[in-house]
């Protein structure tokens, strides 16, 4: 019975991954991360993604803070945050988030505040979606490991 549960969860996980690749939410770089995970580093993907979440939320907060300023003009600073966000998103394979950053940066380079605000909304939305899906993925993975009888430390 345990074996069957693990198999079904495995299928669920792969289906979710396939969906995310199909939607362009994740790209090949995410696969690279998975390939770097092994017995010597069994939680690698989760660790990296957790760091990504922390960094991203800081950056989003900074971006929103900048744009909410009444006398906002520091597009350069915004560009710096965006470059960081772009880089880290690219490094984990978060393709759609990264692409929104590119558009956001273009608006920023044109000093287009309204465009930046729209881009920020979209960015927050995409990031939220990504985070939810990745949490779902990790959750299924944890369930699968439990079902398969493997003891791994829980990741928050």
């Amino acid at each position: 019975m345990l074996g069957l549960g693990a198999d079904r969860l495995w299928a669920d996980m792969n289906r979710l991954l396939a969906l995310l690749f199909h939607q362009g939410v994740l790209d090949e770089q995410f696969v690279q991360l998975q390939q770097l995970q092994d017995e010597s580093s069994p939680n690698f993907v989760c660790e990296v993604v957790t760091i990504y979440f922390h960094e991203s939320e800081k950056l989003l907060k900074n971006l929103r803070g900048l744009l909410m300023e009444r006398e906002f003009s520091d597009y350069k600073k915004m560009g710096i945050h965006l470059n960081q966000f772009m880089g880290s998103s690219s490094s984990i394979g978060a393709k759609r988030v990264r692409n929104v950053c590119v558009a956001f940066r273009a608006a920023s380079e044109q000093n287009n505040r309204a465009g930046c605000l729209r881009a920020l909304e979209l960015l927050e939305h995409e990031y939220c979606y990504l985070k939810n899906k990745l949490h779902e993925l990790f959750h299924i993975e944890q369930q699968r490991l439990l079902a398969a009888g493997v003891r791994y430390p829980m990741q928050n």
Binding site: L33, Q35, N83
Partner: protein, 224 residues
């Protein structure tokens, strides 16, 4: 930094992004390298034991005295875009230093800017990797590290003592045979790859290099 019983290649990775540091560390460890990561060029120079007053050091380039302040680093891989000291600045400082200039340096960047790439290669960088860096990129590092390590071609685990300024000249076939053996150990998950020592201009030769199978320009505007 850990000291291993056997001599491993020791790579110093420099990147201000914590995610990229984690990634490069994992990539390098997977390839059995000893890794030290720092988050700035300044810290890299500190780690390398280079201080401003060492610029006039007249020791021969190959000697790296093994006192407790200096460490053996076989390769430095650094991000280009960093606040303060850029990767290019770091590269220059290393090449200007008589004690460090023989350490191979590799630059990483998330942007494909040909003029930037040329500048780095001209300044002495061995390779220029586009981010995100992958295992196939890291597999290109070994020959650069081997060039500066003087040892019997049959033994891989000699201590890193450089006895003269000139590397032992080995035939290209012998070198490639060595590389293949190392690659077979490392690439148990990936298809066998051949790489030529002269293929430095990775980003510029997009489409020509045989191991370039994935699209690189994911929405980035290509500057030609």
């Amino acid at each position: 930094m850990g000291m291993s019983m056997e001599s491993q290649f020791h790579v110093l990775a420099v990147d201000d992004s914590i995610i990229d540091r984690k990634l490069i560390e994992r990539l390098l460890k997977t390839s059995s390298y000893q890794v030290t990561t720092v988050d700035s060029g300044t810290k890299a120079l500190e780690f390398l034991g280079l201080h401003e007053d060492d610029q006039s050091n007249t020791e021969t380039p190959s000697v790296s005295p093994n006192n407790h302040q200096e460490v053996d680093v076989n390769l430095i891989i650094t991000d280009y875009c960093m606040p303060g000291m850029t990767g290019y600045d770091l590269l220059r400082k290393i090449k200007e230093s008589s004690s460090l200039r023989d350490i191979p340096v590799v630059i990483m960047s998330s942007e494909n800017v040909p003029s930037r790439i040329s500048r780095c290669l001209e300044e002495g960088a061995e390779e220029f990797f586009l981010k995100p860096v992958r295992l196939s990129d890291v597999n290109r590092l070994r020959p650069h590290m081997m060039k500066t390590k003087l040892k019997d071609p049959k033994q891989d685990n000699e201590e890193n003592k450089e006895e003269s300024g000139k590397p032992v000249s080995r035939s290209l076939e012998e070198k490639e045979e060595q590389q293949q053996q190392h690659q077979q150990q490392q690439l148990h998950r990936l298809p066998q790859q051949q790489h030529s020592n002269s293929n430095k201009r990775k980003a510029l030769e997009e489409g020509l290099s045989p191991d370039r199978t994935r699209p690189r320009y994911n929405g980035l505007t290509t500057v030609v």
